[in-house]
Subunit: 218 residues, 2 copies
DNA sequence: ACAAATTTTTAGCTTTGCCTAAATTTTAAT
DNA sequence: ATTAAAATTTAGGCAAAGCTAAAAATTTGT
Protein backbone atom coordinates (compact mmCIF):
# COMPACT_ATOMS: atom_id res chain seq x y z
CA UNK A 1 0.00 0.00 0.00
CA UNK A 2 1.22 3.46 -0.86
CA UNK A 3 0.95 6.40 1.50
CA UNK A 4 -1.80 7.88 -0.61
CA UNK A 5 -3.82 4.68 -0.72
CA UNK A 6 -3.58 4.48 3.06
CA UNK A 7 -4.88 8.01 3.49
CA UNK A 8 -7.83 7.29 1.21
CA UNK A 9 -8.72 4.10 3.06
CA UNK A 10 -8.56 5.87 6.39
CA UNK A 11 -10.79 8.69 5.17
CA UNK A 12 -13.31 6.29 3.70
CA UNK A 13 -13.37 4.55 7.07
CA UNK A 14 -14.01 7.78 8.98
CA UNK A 15 -16.66 9.01 6.57
CA UNK A 16 -18.36 5.63 6.49
CA UNK A 17 -18.83 5.44 10.24
CA UNK A 18 -21.14 8.44 10.29
CA UNK A 19 -23.81 7.52 7.75
CA UNK A 20 -23.36 3.75 7.54
CA UNK A 21 -24.38 4.12 3.90
CA UNK A 22 -21.84 4.33 1.12
CA UNK A 23 -19.33 7.15 0.98
CA UNK A 24 -19.62 9.74 -1.78
CA UNK A 25 -16.86 10.74 -4.15
CA UNK A 26 -17.25 14.39 -3.30
CA UNK A 27 -16.99 13.88 0.44
CA UNK A 28 -13.76 11.97 -0.03
CA UNK A 29 -12.43 14.69 -2.31
CA UNK A 30 -13.21 17.32 0.27
CA UNK A 31 -11.45 15.48 3.10
CA UNK A 32 -8.48 14.60 0.92
CA UNK A 33 -8.28 18.18 -0.32
CA UNK A 34 -8.23 16.89 -3.85
CA UNK A 35 -10.56 16.85 -6.87
CA UNK A 36 -13.44 14.43 -7.38
CA UNK A 37 -11.91 13.14 -10.60
CA UNK A 38 -8.77 12.16 -8.72
CA UNK A 39 -10.90 10.36 -6.19
CA UNK A 40 -12.60 8.35 -8.92
CA UNK A 41 -9.19 7.28 -10.21
CA UNK A 42 -8.09 6.15 -6.78
CA UNK A 43 -11.35 4.40 -5.98
CA UNK A 44 -10.93 2.28 -9.07
CA UNK A 45 -7.49 1.25 -7.99
CA UNK A 46 -8.64 0.45 -4.45
CA UNK A 47 -11.53 -1.50 -5.88
CA UNK A 48 -9.23 -3.58 -8.09
CA UNK A 49 -7.11 -4.32 -5.05
CA UNK A 50 -10.16 -5.51 -3.17
CA UNK A 51 -10.05 -2.84 -0.50
CA UNK A 52 -13.42 -1.28 -1.34
CA UNK A 53 -16.72 -2.23 -2.91
CA UNK A 54 -17.56 0.10 -5.72
CA UNK A 55 -20.21 0.49 -8.38
CA UNK A 56 -20.12 3.44 -10.70
CA UNK A 57 -22.10 6.43 -9.48
CA UNK A 58 -23.09 4.47 -6.36
CA UNK A 59 -20.36 5.50 -3.94
CA UNK A 60 -17.98 3.27 -2.10
CA UNK A 61 -17.80 1.11 1.04
CA UNK A 62 -14.87 -0.62 2.68
CA UNK A 63 -14.49 -4.34 2.12
CA UNK A 64 -13.67 -6.63 5.04
CA UNK A 65 -10.03 -6.39 4.03
CA UNK A 66 -10.29 -2.63 3.63
CA UNK A 67 -11.73 -2.27 7.12
CA UNK A 68 -8.92 -4.31 8.63
CA UNK A 69 -6.43 -2.12 6.83
CA UNK A 70 -8.15 1.08 7.96
CA UNK A 71 -8.15 -0.03 11.58
CA UNK A 72 -4.46 -0.81 11.46
CA UNK A 73 -3.72 2.70 10.19
CA UNK A 74 -6.01 4.29 12.78
CA UNK A 75 -4.25 2.22 15.43
CA UNK A 76 -0.87 3.51 14.35
CA UNK A 77 -2.09 7.08 14.08
CA UNK A 78 -3.49 7.09 17.61
CA UNK A 79 -0.54 5.29 19.17
CA UNK A 80 1.80 7.88 17.70
CA UNK A 81 -0.45 10.64 19.03
CA UNK A 82 -0.16 9.15 22.51
CA UNK A 83 3.61 8.97 22.09
CA UNK A 84 3.87 12.60 21.07
CA UNK A 85 1.81 13.79 24.02
CA UNK A 86 3.03 11.40 26.72
CA UNK A 87 6.70 11.16 25.81
CA UNK A 88 7.57 14.23 23.79
CA UNK A 89 5.48 16.83 25.58
CA UNK A 90 3.42 17.75 22.55
CA UNK A 91 0.10 19.32 23.33
CA UNK A 92 -3.25 17.92 22.44
CA UNK A 93 -3.67 20.06 19.32
CA UNK A 94 -0.17 19.75 17.83
CA UNK A 95 -0.08 16.03 17.26
CA UNK A 96 -2.35 15.44 14.31
CA UNK A 97 -0.13 16.65 11.49
CA UNK A 98 2.87 14.66 12.67
CA UNK A 99 0.83 11.52 13.36
CA UNK A 100 -0.53 11.87 9.84
CA UNK A 101 3.00 11.16 8.64
CA UNK A 102 4.08 8.65 11.28
CA UNK A 103 1.06 6.42 10.69
CA UNK A 104 2.59 5.35 7.37
CA UNK A 105 5.86 3.96 8.74
CA UNK A 106 6.06 0.30 7.88
CA UNK A 107 7.23 -2.03 10.63
CA UNK A 108 5.07 -4.38 12.60
CA UNK A 109 7.64 -4.62 15.35
CA UNK A 110 7.74 -0.83 15.62
CA UNK A 111 4.01 -0.65 16.32
CA UNK A 112 4.06 -3.53 18.79
CA UNK A 113 6.96 -2.11 20.75
CA UNK A 114 5.55 1.41 20.66
CA UNK A 115 2.32 0.04 22.09
CA UNK A 116 4.30 -1.65 24.86
CA UNK A 117 6.47 1.42 25.49
CA UNK A 118 3.31 3.45 25.99
CA UNK A 119 1.77 0.89 28.36
CA UNK A 120 -0.89 -0.39 25.94
CA UNK A 121 -3.04 2.74 25.99
CA UNK A 122 -6.77 2.40 25.32
CA UNK A 123 -7.45 5.94 24.14
CA UNK A 124 -5.59 8.64 22.29
CA UNK A 125 -5.13 12.26 23.43
CA UNK A 126 -8.46 13.20 21.83
CA UNK A 127 -10.33 10.51 23.75
CA UNK A 128 -10.69 8.27 20.72
CA UNK A 129 -10.26 4.54 21.26
CA UNK A 130 -7.16 2.75 19.97
CA UNK A 131 -7.94 -0.44 18.04
CA UNK A 132 -6.12 -3.55 19.25
CA UNK A 133 -3.72 -5.39 16.99
CA UNK A 134 -6.54 -7.50 15.63
CA UNK A 135 -8.82 -4.54 15.03
CA UNK A 136 -11.07 -4.60 18.06
CA UNK A 137 -11.87 -1.54 20.10
CA UNK A 138 -14.39 -0.04 22.44
CA UNK A 139 -16.69 2.63 21.10
CA UNK A 140 -16.38 6.08 22.54
CA UNK A 141 -19.20 8.51 23.21
CA UNK A 142 -19.32 12.19 23.96
CA UNK A 143 -21.18 13.10 27.13
CA UNK A 144 -21.68 16.18 29.23
CA UNK A 145 -19.61 15.79 32.38
CA UNK A 146 -22.70 15.85 34.62
CA UNK A 147 -24.08 12.84 32.77
CA UNK A 148 -20.93 10.74 33.15
CA UNK A 149 -21.48 7.87 35.59
CA UNK A 150 -19.45 7.78 38.79
CA UNK A 151 -16.16 5.94 38.39
CA UNK A 152 -15.83 6.62 34.68
CA UNK A 153 -12.89 8.42 33.12
CA UNK A 154 -12.79 10.48 29.97
CA UNK A 155 -11.00 13.13 28.00
CA UNK A 156 -12.22 16.71 27.99
CA UNK A 157 -13.08 17.39 24.36
CA UNK A 158 -15.22 20.50 24.30
CA UNK A 159 -17.38 23.08 26.01
CA UNK A 160 -21.08 23.81 25.61
CA UNK A 161 -20.84 27.34 26.98
CA UNK A 162 -17.94 29.13 25.34
CA UNK A 163 -18.42 32.50 27.00
CA UNK A 164 -15.30 34.26 28.29
CA UNK A 165 -16.30 33.95 31.96
CA UNK A 166 -16.64 30.20 31.67
CA UNK A 167 -13.41 29.80 29.74
CA UNK A 168 -11.66 31.99 32.29
CA UNK A 169 -13.00 29.78 35.05
CA UNK A 170 -11.64 26.69 33.33
CA UNK A 171 -8.30 28.34 32.86
CA UNK A 172 -8.09 29.37 36.52
CA UNK A 173 -8.90 25.82 37.59
CA UNK A 174 -6.42 24.36 35.12
CA UNK A 175 -9.02 22.45 33.17
CA UNK A 176 -8.11 22.30 29.48
CA UNK A 177 -9.10 20.42 26.38
CA UNK A 178 -7.29 17.13 26.27
CA UNK A 179 -7.18 16.67 30.02
CA UNK A 180 -8.15 13.33 31.41
CA UNK A 181 -10.92 13.64 34.01
CA UNK A 182 -12.48 10.96 36.18
CA UNK A 183 -15.66 11.28 38.19
CA UNK A 184 -15.05 10.36 41.83
CA UNK A 185 -18.39 11.13 43.39
CA UNK A 186 -21.59 13.10 42.97
CA UNK A 187 -23.45 15.04 45.69
CA UNK A 188 -27.13 14.13 45.66
CA UNK A 189 -27.99 17.45 47.24
CA UNK A 190 -26.86 19.88 44.52
CA UNK A 191 -25.54 17.64 41.78
CA UNK A 192 -22.02 18.96 42.28
CA UNK A 193 -19.15 16.67 41.37
CA UNK A 194 -15.89 15.49 42.87
CA UNK A 195 -13.54 14.87 39.99
CA UNK A 196 -9.90 13.94 39.61
CA UNK A 197 -7.84 15.87 37.11
CA UNK A 198 -4.04 15.74 36.80
CA UNK A 199 -3.93 13.62 39.95
CA UNK A 200 -5.71 16.21 42.09
CA UNK A 201 -9.28 16.05 43.36
CA UNK A 202 -11.44 19.06 42.85
CA UNK A 203 -15.05 19.90 43.51
CA UNK A 204 -17.14 21.54 40.81
CA UNK A 205 -20.76 22.68 40.61
CA UNK A 206 -23.38 21.04 38.45
CA UNK A 207 -23.49 24.22 36.42
CA UNK A 208 -19.87 23.79 35.44
CA UNK A 209 -20.22 20.07 34.84
CA UNK A 210 -23.17 20.57 32.53
CA UNK A 211 -21.09 22.71 30.21
CA UNK A 212 -18.11 20.45 29.71
CA UNK A 213 -18.01 17.62 27.19
CA UNK A 214 -16.10 14.42 27.97
CA UNK A 215 -15.33 11.60 25.58
CA UNK A 216 -15.60 8.30 27.38
CA UNK A 217 -15.03 4.67 26.50
CA UNK A 218 -17.81 2.04 26.17
CA UNK B 1 12.28 18.11 -0.49
CA UNK B 2 10.81 14.78 -1.47
CA UNK B 3 11.70 11.54 0.26
CA UNK B 4 13.68 10.46 -2.76
CA UNK B 5 15.66 13.69 -2.98
CA UNK B 6 16.55 13.32 0.69
CA UNK B 7 17.83 9.80 0.17
CA UNK B 8 20.00 10.92 -2.73
CA UNK B 9 21.45 13.83 -0.76
CA UNK B 10 22.25 11.57 2.15
CA UNK B 11 23.96 9.01 -0.08
CA UNK B 12 25.99 11.68 -1.85
CA UNK B 13 27.06 12.87 1.59
CA UNK B 14 28.17 9.41 2.71
CA UNK B 15 29.98 8.64 -0.54
CA UNK B 16 31.65 12.03 -0.59
CA UNK B 17 33.20 11.66 2.84
CA UNK B 18 35.36 8.75 1.76
CA UNK B 19 37.18 10.09 -1.29
CA UNK B 20 36.74 13.84 -0.77
CA UNK B 21 36.64 14.06 -4.55
CA UNK B 22 33.42 14.23 -6.49
CA UNK B 23 30.91 11.40 -6.32
CA UNK B 24 30.32 9.27 -9.42
CA UNK B 25 26.97 8.57 -11.00
CA UNK B 26 27.54 4.84 -10.88
CA UNK B 27 28.39 4.76 -7.19
CA UNK B 28 25.19 6.64 -6.37
CA UNK B 29 23.20 4.27 -8.56
CA UNK B 30 24.65 1.29 -6.74
CA UNK B 31 23.84 2.64 -3.28
CA UNK B 32 20.36 3.75 -4.33
CA UNK B 33 19.76 0.40 -5.99
CA UNK B 34 18.70 2.21 -9.11
CA UNK B 35 20.04 2.76 -12.64
CA UNK B 36 22.68 5.33 -13.61
CA UNK B 37 20.27 7.02 -15.99
CA UNK B 38 17.85 7.63 -13.14
CA UNK B 39 20.68 9.10 -11.10
CA UNK B 40 21.54 11.54 -13.87
CA UNK B 41 17.92 12.70 -13.92
CA UNK B 42 17.90 13.28 -10.18
CA UNK B 43 21.29 14.97 -10.12
CA UNK B 44 20.02 17.52 -12.59
CA UNK B 45 17.09 18.27 -10.38
CA UNK B 46 19.22 18.55 -7.27
CA UNK B 47 21.60 20.78 -9.16
CA UNK B 48 18.81 23.11 -10.25
CA UNK B 49 17.69 23.32 -6.64
CA UNK B 50 21.18 24.30 -5.57
CA UNK B 51 21.81 21.24 -3.44
CA UNK B 52 24.74 19.92 -5.45
CA UNK B 53 27.45 21.19 -7.77
CA UNK B 54 27.38 19.35 -11.03
CA UNK B 55 29.13 19.47 -14.37
CA UNK B 56 28.28 16.88 -16.97
CA UNK B 57 30.48 13.82 -16.87
CA UNK B 58 32.38 15.29 -13.91
CA UNK B 59 30.47 13.80 -11.00
CA UNK B 60 28.80 15.68 -8.22
CA UNK B 61 29.58 17.31 -4.87
CA UNK B 62 27.29 18.70 -2.19
CA UNK B 63 26.86 22.46 -2.05
CA UNK B 64 27.00 24.26 1.28
CA UNK B 65 23.21 24.07 1.38
CA UNK B 66 23.25 20.41 0.35
CA UNK B 67 25.66 19.58 3.17
CA UNK B 68 23.46 21.31 5.72
CA UNK B 69 20.50 19.33 4.41
CA UNK B 70 22.41 16.04 4.49
CA UNK B 71 23.49 16.60 8.09
CA UNK B 72 19.95 17.29 9.16
CA UNK B 73 18.80 14.01 7.65
CA UNK B 74 21.70 12.09 9.17
CA UNK B 75 20.85 13.68 12.53
CA UNK B 76 17.28 12.49 12.29
CA UNK B 77 18.27 9.03 11.14
CA UNK B 78 20.65 8.53 14.06
CA UNK B 79 18.32 9.99 16.67
CA UNK B 80 15.59 7.60 15.58
CA UNK B 81 18.07 4.73 15.76
CA UNK B 82 18.85 5.65 19.35
CA UNK B 83 15.14 5.82 20.09
CA UNK B 84 14.50 2.37 18.66
CA UNK B 85 17.31 0.79 20.66
CA UNK B 86 16.99 2.72 23.92
CA UNK B 87 13.23 3.00 24.18
CA UNK B 88 11.73 0.25 22.05
CA UNK B 89 14.20 -2.54 22.75
CA UNK B 90 15.25 -2.94 19.13
CA UNK B 91 18.63 -4.51 18.64
CA UNK B 92 21.57 -2.91 17.00
CA UNK B 93 21.01 -4.56 13.64
CA UNK B 94 17.25 -4.10 13.31
CA UNK B 95 17.09 -0.34 13.37
CA UNK B 96 18.40 0.74 10.02
CA UNK B 97 15.43 -0.08 7.82
CA UNK B 98 12.95 1.64 10.12
CA UNK B 99 15.18 4.68 10.64
CA UNK B 100 15.44 4.91 6.87
CA UNK B 101 11.74 5.70 6.89
CA UNK B 102 11.54 7.77 10.07
CA UNK B 103 14.30 10.12 8.96
CA UNK B 104 11.88 11.66 6.46
CA UNK B 105 9.19 12.74 8.92
CA UNK B 106 8.84 16.50 8.72
CA UNK B 107 8.56 18.35 12.02
CA UNK B 108 11.26 20.42 13.60
CA UNK B 109 9.61 20.17 16.98
CA UNK B 110 9.51 16.39 16.70
CA UNK B 111 13.28 16.19 16.23
CA UNK B 112 14.01 18.66 19.00
CA UNK B 113 11.79 16.88 21.49
CA UNK B 114 13.02 13.46 20.46
CA UNK B 115 16.57 14.66 21.07
CA UNK B 116 15.54 15.89 24.52
CA UNK B 117 13.58 12.69 25.29
CA UNK B 118 16.71 10.68 24.52
CA UNK B 119 18.92 12.89 26.69
CA UNK B 120 20.77 14.58 23.82
CA UNK B 121 22.78 11.53 22.75
CA UNK B 122 26.15 12.07 21.07
CA UNK B 123 26.37 8.77 19.22
CA UNK B 124 23.98 6.32 17.61
CA UNK B 125 23.80 2.56 18.27
CA UNK B 126 26.50 1.96 15.65
CA UNK B 127 28.90 4.37 17.32
CA UNK B 128 28.41 7.04 14.69
CA UNK B 129 28.25 10.64 15.90
CA UNK B 130 24.95 12.54 15.86
CA UNK B 131 25.19 16.01 14.29
CA UNK B 132 23.87 18.84 16.44
CA UNK B 133 20.96 20.96 15.31
CA UNK B 134 23.29 23.33 13.51
CA UNK B 135 25.23 20.56 11.83
CA UNK B 136 28.27 20.21 14.04
CA UNK B 137 29.57 16.90 15.27
CA UNK B 138 32.63 15.13 16.54
CA UNK B 139 34.40 12.75 14.23
CA UNK B 140 34.43 9.13 15.18
CA UNK B 141 37.27 6.69 14.70
CA UNK B 142 37.53 2.93 14.85
CA UNK B 143 40.17 1.61 17.23
CA UNK B 144 41.14 -1.73 18.65
CA UNK B 145 40.02 -1.83 22.27
CA UNK B 146 43.58 -2.18 23.56
CA UNK B 147 44.49 1.10 21.86
CA UNK B 148 41.61 3.06 23.37
CA UNK B 149 42.85 5.57 25.97
CA UNK B 150 41.77 5.14 29.59
CA UNK B 151 38.53 6.96 30.36
CA UNK B 152 37.20 6.83 26.81
CA UNK B 153 33.93 5.22 25.87
CA UNK B 154 32.92 3.63 22.59
CA UNK B 155 30.62 1.24 20.83
CA UNK B 156 31.69 -2.25 19.97
CA UNK B 157 31.51 -2.38 16.19
CA UNK B 158 33.49 -5.40 15.10
CA UNK B 159 36.00 -8.16 15.76
CA UNK B 160 39.44 -8.75 14.27
CA UNK B 161 39.48 -12.44 15.11
CA UNK B 162 36.19 -14.01 14.07
CA UNK B 163 37.01 -17.59 15.03
CA UNK B 164 34.31 -19.59 16.84
CA UNK B 165 36.26 -19.84 20.12
CA UNK B 166 36.63 -16.06 20.30
CA UNK B 167 32.99 -15.43 19.40
CA UNK B 168 31.94 -18.00 21.98
CA UNK B 169 34.05 -16.22 24.56
CA UNK B 170 32.34 -12.91 23.75
CA UNK B 171 28.97 -14.53 23.99
CA UNK B 172 29.72 -16.10 27.35
CA UNK B 173 30.88 -12.75 28.69
CA UNK B 174 27.86 -10.96 27.22
CA UNK B 175 29.88 -8.75 24.94
CA UNK B 176 28.03 -8.08 21.73
CA UNK B 177 28.19 -5.76 18.76
CA UNK B 178 26.46 -2.52 19.63
CA UNK B 179 27.40 -2.61 23.29
CA UNK B 180 28.78 0.52 24.82
CA UNK B 181 32.14 -0.12 26.49
CA UNK B 182 34.28 2.26 28.52
CA UNK B 183 37.87 1.71 29.53
CA UNK B 184 38.30 2.08 33.31
CA UNK B 185 41.93 1.15 33.77
CA UNK B 186 44.84 -0.70 32.20
CA UNK B 187 47.32 -2.98 34.00
CA UNK B 188 50.88 -2.01 33.11
CA UNK B 189 52.04 -5.52 33.87
CA UNK B 190 50.17 -7.55 31.26
CA UNK B 191 48.20 -4.95 29.33
CA UNK B 192 44.93 -6.39 30.57
CA UNK B 193 41.97 -4.03 30.83
CA UNK B 194 39.27 -3.15 33.30
CA UNK B 195 36.23 -2.15 31.30
CA UNK B 196 32.67 -1.22 32.06
CA UNK B 197 29.95 -2.81 29.98
CA UNK B 198 26.23 -2.72 30.72
CA UNK B 199 27.00 -1.06 34.06
CA UNK B 200 29.23 -3.90 35.23
CA UNK B 201 33.01 -3.87 35.51
CA UNK B 202 34.90 -6.75 34.00
CA UNK B 203 38.54 -7.61 33.51
CA UNK B 204 39.77 -8.81 30.12
CA UNK B 205 43.17 -9.84 28.79
CA UNK B 206 45.15 -7.86 26.26
CA UNK B 207 44.63 -10.70 23.83
CA UNK B 208 40.89 -10.19 23.94
CA UNK B 209 41.16 -6.43 23.83
CA UNK B 210 43.38 -6.52 20.76
CA UNK B 211 40.69 -8.35 18.79
CA UNK B 212 37.73 -6.07 19.44
CA UNK B 213 37.03 -2.91 17.50
CA UNK B 214 35.47 0.09 19.22
CA UNK B 215 34.13 3.20 17.56
CA UNK B 216 34.96 6.21 19.70
CA UNK B 217 34.27 9.91 19.54
CA UNK B 218 36.92 12.58 18.84
C1' DA C 1 48.28 7.82 -29.86
C1' DC C 2 44.38 5.43 -30.53
C1' DA C 3 41.22 1.62 -30.12
C1' DA C 4 38.58 -0.61 -26.54
C1' DA C 5 36.26 -0.51 -22.39
C1' DT C 6 33.82 1.98 -19.13
C1' DT C 7 31.07 5.67 -17.56
C1' DT C 8 27.65 8.95 -18.25
C1' DT C 9 24.02 11.07 -20.65
C1' DT C 10 20.03 11.33 -23.81
C1' DA C 11 15.75 9.76 -25.79
C1' DG C 12 11.67 7.71 -25.31
C1' DC C 13 8.29 5.00 -22.30
C1' DT C 14 5.87 3.57 -17.87
C1' DT C 15 3.40 4.20 -13.46
C1' DT C 16 1.42 6.92 -9.73
C1' DG C 17 -1.27 10.56 -8.34
C1' DC C 18 -2.95 14.59 -9.52
C1' DC C 19 -5.27 18.28 -12.66
C1' DT C 20 -8.95 20.69 -16.07
C1' DA C 21 -12.60 20.39 -19.13
C1' DA C 22 -16.18 17.88 -21.09
C1' DA C 23 -19.52 14.16 -20.93
C1' DT C 24 -22.65 11.36 -18.38
C1' DT C 25 -25.61 9.90 -14.68
C1' DT C 26 -28.32 10.77 -10.74
C1' DT C 27 -31.16 13.76 -7.93
C1' DA C 28 -34.09 17.62 -7.14
C1' DA C 29 -37.55 21.00 -8.62
C1' DT C 30 -41.24 22.48 -11.03
C1' DA D 1 -42.68 14.05 -16.60
C1' DT D 2 -39.49 17.14 -17.89
C1' DT D 3 -35.98 20.13 -16.94
C1' DA D 4 -32.41 22.08 -14.07
C1' DA D 5 -28.83 21.24 -10.84
C1' DA D 6 -25.53 18.52 -8.71
C1' DA D 7 -22.56 14.61 -8.54
C1' DT D 8 -19.66 11.55 -10.87
C1' DT D 9 -16.96 9.77 -14.46
C1' DT D 10 -14.16 10.03 -18.72
C1' DA D 11 -10.64 12.02 -21.64
C1' DG D 12 -6.49 14.03 -22.15
C1' DG D 13 -2.36 16.00 -19.76
C1' DC D 14 1.39 16.91 -16.37
C1' DA D 15 5.27 16.10 -12.98
C1' DA D 16 7.99 12.80 -10.29
C1' DA D 17 10.78 8.92 -10.39
C1' DG D 18 11.89 5.09 -12.45
C1' DC D 19 13.33 1.92 -16.75
C1' DT D 20 15.75 0.27 -21.42
C1' DA D 21 18.37 1.09 -25.34
C1' DA D 22 21.27 3.94 -27.83
C1' DA D 23 24.54 7.80 -28.16
C1' DA D 24 28.36 10.46 -26.37
C1' DA D 25 32.26 11.40 -23.39
C1' DT D 26 35.92 9.82 -20.62
C1' DT D 27 39.31 6.61 -19.15
C1' DT D 28 42.34 2.80 -19.90
C1' DG D 29 45.49 -0.40 -22.11
C1' DT D 30 48.91 -1.22 -25.26
MN1 LIG E 1 -1.49 10.14 6.60
MN1 LIG F 1 -6.63 11.52 17.59
MN1 LIG G 1 15.46 7.12 3.81
MN1 LIG H 1 23.55 4.20 12.44
Amino acid sequence: MTLSEEDYIKIIYHLGKGDLGSVSTNSIAERMETKPSSVTDMIKKLSEKGLVNYKKYQGVTLSEYGLKTALSIVRKHRLWEVFLVEKLEFSWDEVHEVAEQLEHIKSEKLVDMLDKHLGFPQIDPHGDPIPSKDGEFKKSIKRLLNEVPIGKEGICVGVKDSSPPFLKFLDKNKIALGDSISVIDKEEFDGSLHIKIREVDIHISDQIASNLYLRIIE
